[in-house]
Amino acid sequence: MSLVLEGVSTVINGQTHIYPTDLELSSGTMNVLLGPTSSGKTSLMRAMAGLDVPTTGKVIWGGKDVTGMRVQDRGVAMVYQQFINYPSMTVYENIASPMRLLGQSKGQIDAAVKKAADLMKLSPFLDRKPLELSGGQQQRCALARALVKDAGLVLLDEPLANLDYKLREELRAEIPKIFEEAGSIFVYATTEPEEALLLGGNTAAMWEGTITQFGKTPTVYRQPVNATTARVFSDPPMNFLDIQKTGDRLLFGDAQSAPASGAFEALKDGSYIAGFRPNHLELAQQAPGALVFTGKLNVTEITGSETFIHLDHHGENWVGLVHGIKALEIGASLNVYLDPKHVYIFAQDGTSVAPAAYAVAA
C-alpha cells in the first residue's frame, strides 16, 4: 500500500503551512521528515493522516483517493511528543484499546498485546496505570498502542523529544527493530539530523513548508541538491565561503586555491558558494594539497572525545569538529586545514552545482 501526495498544500487563515507538495512513500519504508520547528513537519503529517483536509491536492492511499475521508476510516496510527495514553486504563487496556474498537476476539487481542509489550519491554508493567510509569515507559506504551493496530501508516511526531538524552538513544535504537517487524509505512518527524542518520531509510528535508529534497538518507546527507538541504541536514551547521572559479582553479581567498578537477571542471567561471562540514576541518595538514585558512579562535567546547572550535574567519563564524581534546588559547590565531575533496559547491541562488568529490566516490 503506497501513499502518494499530489500537489498537497495547507493554507490556514491566509498563512501557508505547506506549499504544494508531491511525495510518494512505499510500504515497508521508514521515512524521516527532517527540519527545524515550524518547517511544516507536523502539518504534513496531519495532512497525510487525514486530520486536516488539504487546501489543494489529493492524498492517494493504495491507489484510492482518500482526500476527504475521515482519519478514523483510514487505518492510521500516530504517536505524539507528549506521551499520550488513556490515564484511567492500565497499560494492558491501553495497548488493547485499538483492537477492542476494531472488534477483534479476546484471544487475538491477548496475543497481540503480549507481543507488543514484549517488543517494547513493558511486560512487567501491564497492570500499572500510565502515570505510574516513567516518561520513557509511557512513550513505549504509546508506541505499543500504535503498533498493535497494524495500521498501514504509522506517524511519529518527534516522539523522543521529551525524553532524557540517554533514554532517547535507547529508544531510537529500538525503533528500527520494531519497524522491521511491521510492514507499514513509517513517517518519523524530527529536528535532529543525527536521528535521521541513525534511523536510515529515506529522508525528506523540510524548510519553511517545502520539501527541499527527498531520497535515501545517506544520499540526501552526502549529496544535497541545494544549500538549504545542506543547512537543514547538518549539526553543527555547515560552513559557507564565497569562492571564485577562474580557468581551471577555484579561488578560496587568502591566496588559497585548488584545482578545479572532476565535477568542478565543467563549471562556468564566476562566483560560487563553497560549503563544507565542520568535521572536515582539521588542525594539522592531513592530505597533500589541503587548503589552509586562518581564523581567530572564539571559543572551544569539549565533548569528551572531540572538540568543537568556533572560529572567526573574516567576520564569518565557522565551526570545526576535531578529534581529541585540544586545549587551545582563546583569541589566538589558528590555522585550519581543509581537503578540497570535502568541498561542496553551490550556485549563488543556493542550488548545488557540484557535490563534494568524496561524497560521489563513496
Binding site: I12, G50, L51, D52, V53, G68, M69, R70
Partner: protein, 290 residues
C-alpha cells in the same frame, strides 16, 4: 483548521435548536411584537410604531431606574472584584484546608436566590434578625424598610455576601495555574509582595478576571429576586432597579407596550456591554499569542 467534514453532526444539534427556538427565540419575537403595538385590552392590537420607544427614552422614571442600576452595578463591581481577588490570594493552595476553604466559599453560591433574599430580610429585622437586633443594641438606627441608606447598604452587603465567592473561586483557579517558577524567580529577584502581585499574579489572572467581571456585571445589571424579596423596591422606589421597574410596569400596570420596548432596550444595553468585554478578552488572548 479544516477538519474533515461529517454531515451527520448537524442532526445532533437539532434538539437543542428546537429547545432554544421554543424557549428563547419565540418569546423574544413576541416581545418585539408587543413593543411596536398598542392595545386597549380585549386582545385587539394596532400598530404603534416607535412610539413606545420614544416614550421610554423620554421617561424620567426609566432614566432614574437606569441611574440607580448603574450606580448599583458600579458599587458591586468595585467591592466584589478586589475583595474576591484578596480572598483568593489568601486561600490555601493545597492540602486539607484548601478543600475545606473551597467548600465554604461555594456555599453562598448554592443557595437559591429568593432564599438569599429571605435570609437577609429576616437577618436585617430589628425584632427577630441577628443583624438588626445587634445594630439596634449598639444604638444604630437601622431600618431597611424605611431608611434609604440602610436599604441600599443591606442590598449591597447581601449581594457581596452572595456573589464574592464566584470572583474568589475564579481568581483562585487562575492563580493555581501560575507555575511555581515565577514565584521562585521573584524571590530570587528580591521582589516585594505587592510587586509579586502586580507583575506576576495580576497579569496572569487577567483573562479569568475578565470573565468574572463580565459575569458579575451582567448578573448585577439584571438583578431582580434578591432586592425584591428584601425591600420590594422600597422604601419608595429607592431600590427599584431596572428589572424590578420593568416587572412593575409589565405585570403591575399591565403596560405591555412600554414594558416590551423597555425590555428590548435593556437587552440591547447588556448585549453591547457584553460584546465590548468579549472583544477586550479576545484581544487579551491574541496579545498573549494564543
Amino acid at each position: 483548521m479544516n477538519k474533515t467534514v461529517n454531515k451527520k453532526a448537524w442532526f445532533l444539534i437539532l434538539p437543542v435548536l428546537l429547545l432554544v427556538a421554543f424557549s428563547a427565540v419565540i418569546p423574544l419575537m413576541t416581545v418585539v411584537n408587543y413593543s411596536v403595538q398598542d392595545t386597549f385590552g380585549n386582545n385587539k392590537f394596532f400598530w404603534a410604531g416607535l412610539e413606545w420607544f420614544e416614550e421610554m427614552l423620554a421617561s424620567e422614571r426609566m432614566w432614574n431606574a437606569l441611574g440607580r442600576q448603574i450606580t448599583f452595578s458600579a458599587i458591586i463591581l468595585a467591592i466584589e472584584i478586589p475583595l474576591g481577588i484578596f480572598v483568593a490570594l489568601n486561600m490555601p493552595k493545597k492540602g486539607f484546608w484548601a478543600s475545606l476553604c473551597l467548600v465554604l466559599m461555594s456555599l453562598p453560591l448554592l443557595i437559591p436566590w429568593n432564599v438569599v433574599g429571605t435570609i437577609w430580610q429576616i437577618f436585617g429585622r430589628v425584632d427577630i434578625g441577628l443583624l438588626g437586633y445587634t445594630l439596634a443594641a449598639l444604638g444604630i438606627d437601622y431600618n431597611y424598610t424605611q431608611d434609604f441608606y440602610a436599604a441600599w447598604i443591606t442590598v449591597i452587603v447581601m449581594d457581596v455576601w452572595h456573589w464574592t465567592s464566584l470572583v474568589a473561586l475564579l481568581a483562585y483557579a487562575g492563580l493555581q495555574s501560575i507555575p511555581d517558577a515565577y514565584y521562585q524567580a521573584a524571590k530570587i529577584d528580591q521582589a516585594s509582595r505587592w510587586k509579586v502581585f502586580r507583575f506576576i499574579e495580576l497579569p496572569k489572572i487577567m483573562g479569568v478576571l475578565m470573565i468574572a467581571i463580565l459575569l458579575r456585571f451582567m448578573d448585577s445589571f439584571m438583578i431582580y429576586t434578591e432586592p425584591f424579596v428584601v425591600t420590594g423596591g422600597g422604601p419608595g422606589n429607592s431600590t427599584t432597579f431596572l428589572s424590578i421597574d420593568l416587572v412593575k410596569m409589565a405585570l403591575g400596570q399591565f403596560d405591555l407596550g412600554p414594558a416590551a420596548a423597555f425590555s428590548i432596550m435593556y437587552y440591547l444595553v447588556i448585549l453591547l456591554v457584553s460584546y465590548v468585554f468579549y472583544t477586550v478578552m479576545t484581544n487579551l488572548d491574541k496579545r498573549d499569542g494564543h
